[in-house]
């Protein structure tokens, strides 16, 4: 199938490992093992703290992650989960539920570094370990399980070896073996060996949420298909008719068949990217800088041929002749199905960091190679059929993100109308890129009931927050004040303010005052103020008096 490519490689006299790669090994239907350490971010954080001299064992721990401007729980230790902390929760809520928990930032480089121990332990059994993210790795088991005496024996031995490598902490290591990557991952959750051909039976009771797509899972549940078995029982053409090519994948997964990347291409042999580092890189950042360039170049050359990469082999060579290699896979995510230069460079950096800090390299790195291992045709990102507004949206998104980069995250916002008494309170600003919560329908009737003292439409087009200092005086030139019952003593006659044209003037018409006694139960947030709607000249505005000082709050422009 790739005769010429393989011959060319052998002709170059390269080593055995490269000869193994002569055909694209898809893990779709092969017997696959999966090693999974649940809550790996927590374990990695604990081990890191241990190394720094802090003991975080047996203490509740929350690993947080910033998503946009939101602060979410990425992982939580068993103690924290026992009191109701869950992944994806807001950090503030998690801390309210578990106040004694230690909160640490997510550090993916540290996770990858800590996982290197596990990967190396598995590598003693099979050389072809594939990492997708720290905490989980997969490997084909056909060869090793024949050598070590069957799947069960292999699973037991690997589990023992990994647990030994991780030390006496009693880390939960789960290993599952099944046909295909998807089923192997499910098997690892329960730490079982699924017999060959038993995939469909094993996956049937699992809920559809294991498909790792919340929108899709929600839709399937609403369609009355709560489990994978229910999806598998449908006729395949019905699923494809409803979901398109995505439906083909779902149906295959539900039957326990991992379709893998749809079309595999033999990786063209000349696409291997290699760079020599002179002087040898002793530090991670120097090697990682070279890796970034390599990643850019590799993906650019793949893109020229209309190809994209889903699995890449990272190889490094040191001054002492050590050769290190590790395979990283990238699967579907919100970033797209294939590797992007940023994602690839990040993985290479993690790997180099792991090799250097765990002492696997005894000297500086002299050369770095990236080999595309699994290559699929790049079909790009499919836009909607009526792609007009989608395209316009992306154009706007790019421009606004650029402005955000220039001015800061909060500078670009969209407005959400909400309830409130003052014009400034009635609007909430959501930074661009964050999800707008659905607007509540504010019927005037209910709104007036909910917010006593709020002015009905029309609404002012210019709102000053805080109010611009002004003078509101009566006919005698005395400042307008209200008594304890919220009644004014004299009618307003003149208003003066710098934002009004010509500095203000005679009050032609006015209504009010509306007195507000807001949050009287809270000492700090308590406000007492009175509000007038008035017309001076041709200008309508809202004037507020609070603590004896007047201010223009809004202008109807």
């Amino acid at each position: 199938m790739s005769g010429s490519g393989a011959d060319r490689r052998r002709g170059r006299g390269v080593d055995k490992r490269e000869a193994q790669r002569e055909r694209p090994v898809s893990m779709s239907d092969t017997r696959t093992g999966c090693v999974w350490c649940p809550d790996w971010p927590v374990i990695a954080a604990r081990r890191h703290a241990d190394a720094m001299g802090t003991d975080l064992r047996n203490r509740p721990l929350i690993v947080r992650e910033r998503v946009g401007s939101r602060d979410l729980v990425r992982a939580a230790s068993a103690e924290a989960r026992a009191v109701g902390v869950a992944r994806g929760m807001r950090r503030r809520e998690a801390e309210a539920r578990c106040p004694e928990a230690v909160c640490v930032d997510r550090d993916e480089a540290n996770e990858a570094r800590a996982f290197e121990v596990v990967a190396r332990a598995v590598e003693r059994f099979t050389p072809r370990v594939v990492l997708e993210r720290p905490g989980r790795c997969e490997f084909p088991t056909r060869g090793p399980s024949r050598y070590f005496g069957g799947d069960d024996a292999l699973a037991t031995q690997i589990r023992t070896a990994v647990a030994e490598a991780l030390g006496p902490d009693g880390v939960d290591v789960r290993i599952g073996i099944a046909d295909g990557v998807f089923v192997a991952r499910l098997a690892a959750r329960r730490s079982v060996v699924v017999p060959a051909g038993g995939s469909a039976e094993y996956v049937a009771p699992w809920p559809v949420s294991v498909l790792d797509d919340d929108d899709l899972a929600g839709l399937l549940v609403r369609l009355g298909l709560p489990t994978l078995g229910a999806v598998a029982a449908l006729a395949p053409d019905a699923v494809i008719a409803r979901f398109g090519s995505e439906g083909r994948r779902i149906h295959a997964l539900a039957r326990g068949i991992d379709p893998g990347p749809s079309v595999l291409v033999v990786p063209p042999p000349d696409l291997v990217e290699r760079t020599e580092l002179d002087p040898p890189a002793e530090r991670v950042d120097i090697a990682a800088f070279a890796a970034k360039e390599l990643a850019d170049r590799l993906l650019e050359r793949l893109a020229e041929r209309g190809l994209a990469c889903t699995r890449v082999l990272v190889e490094a060579e040191t001054e002492h002749g050590e050769r290190l290699a590790r395979c990283w896979r990238h699967t579907r995510s919100e970033l797209g199905d294939t590797l992007t230069p940023g994602v690839l460079a990040e993985r290479v950096r993690w790997q180099l960091d792991a090799w250097i800090t765990t002492g696997e390299t005894t000297a500086g790195i002299t050369s770095l190679t990236l080999i595309p291992d699994e290559v699929v045709p790049a079909d790009g990102r499919q836009l909607g059929f009526w792609g007009g507004d989608q395209v316009a949206h992306q154009r706007a998104d790019r421009a606004l993100a650029r402005v955000q980069g220039m001015l800061g995250y909060d500078a670009v916002a969209t407005a959400v109308v909400q309830g409130g008494r003052t014009p400034a309170e009635q609007v909430r600003w959501v930074p661009w890129g964050e999800t707008r919560e659905p607007e509540l329908l504010l019927a005037i009737g209910t709104e007036a009931a909910a917010w006593p003292g709020a002015l009905p439409p029309p609404f002012p087009a210019r709102v000053f927050d805080p109010p611009v200092p002004a003078e509101l005086v009566d006919a005698n030139g005395d400042a307008i004040a209200v008594n304890g019952r919220g009644e004014q003593l004299c009618a307003p006659a003149h208003v003066r303010c710098r934002v009004l044209p010509a500095g203000g003037g005679v009050v032609r018409a006015w209504a009010g005052p509306w007195a507000h006694d807001v949050r009287w139960w809270d000492v700090r947030a308590h406000r007492r103020c009175a509000r007038w709607q008035l017309i001076t000249g041709d200008i309508a505005c809202i004037v507020v008096v609070e603590g004896g000082r007047a201010g223009v709050e809004a202008i109807y422009d």
Binding site: D410, P458, A509, W510, Y556
Partner: protein, 242 residues
């Protein structure tokens, strides 16, 4: 002459024409059955249809149709994409409302608008009341005067309408560059405040007629009109827009 063409190769194509005589007995048959008759009624229908049909408009000359009374003041009932509209008027005379009307015309057809508001004083509730789809209207605040032109330029690349409050001391060179960029990107640039260079349209807000509020009572009534004056190449208008 000889030397001039020596370096070139000329290929002459010759068209082969085959003439076939039409048999004379076919012609009367065609004339009587297949060809349309000179039908006076059909011609009248065609003439009526021609008055209703509008000529095709090229994509570059597309109009941003503005509904409502202000649309009637504008040439052809809207604003041509790529043009610059200079809006002015002292605070309280309705210039912000006119800007909102134009933004509402953009967002209501599913396109994107951006408003540059350096002071952060925009009343989004009023915008929603006028009909601006707030989820498609980005508002850019806290813009320093020296970065104003850069920000507006970046926004012109991305959205269909940019409404921007002009900072004091804008250089005419920057203003001209933005006008050119808007034309190139087929984006409408609406400026609020004194615009130092020429614009396709100038709209002066001259005040609003409020009703409903009396000395000591009542409330401002919704639906008050804005008194505007539109200046431009194709218009000489002065009217009230609501």
């Amino acid at each position: 002459m000889e030397r001039a063409i020596a370096g070139r190769t000329y290929v002459r194509y010759r068209r082969l024409v085959v003439a076939t005589p039409i048999s004379p007995n076919l012609v009367p048959a065609l004339r009587s059955d297949a060809l349309p008759r000179r039908d006076e009624q059909a011609r009248a229908q065609l003439r009526a249809a021609a008055t209703r049909a509008a000529p095709a408009v090229l994509a570059g000359d597309r109009l941003l149709v503005v509904a409502g009374p202000i649309g009637q003041l504008l040439p052809a009932g809207g604003i041509r994409r790529g043009s610059t509209v200079a809006l002015d008027g002292p605070p309280g005379t309705g210039s912000t409302t006119v800007a909102f009307l134009l933004a509402a015309a953009t967002t209501s057809v599913g396109e994107w608008a951006a408003v540059v508001d350096p002071d952060g004083t925009l009343g989004a509730r009023a915008a929603a009341e006028i009909g601006v789809a707030l989820e498609r209207c980005a508002i850019v605040r806290h813009v320093a005067p020296d970065r104003w032109a850069t920000v507006v330029g970046a926004l012109l690349d991305g959205v269909s309408l940019v409404a921007a409050a002009v900072p004091p001391g804008l250089r005419p060179g920057d203003a001209r560059r933005l006008t050119a960029r808007a034309r190139e990107r087929a984006t409408v640039l609406v400026t609020l405040g004194p615009w130092p260079v020429e614009a396709t349209l100038r709209i002066h807000a001259r005040g609003r007629n409020w009703s409903g509020l009396a000395p000591g009572g009542g409330l401002l009534a919704p639906g008050s009109s804005v008194d505007v004056r539109v200046e431009g190449k194709a218009v000489r208008a002065h009217a009230k827009a609501g």
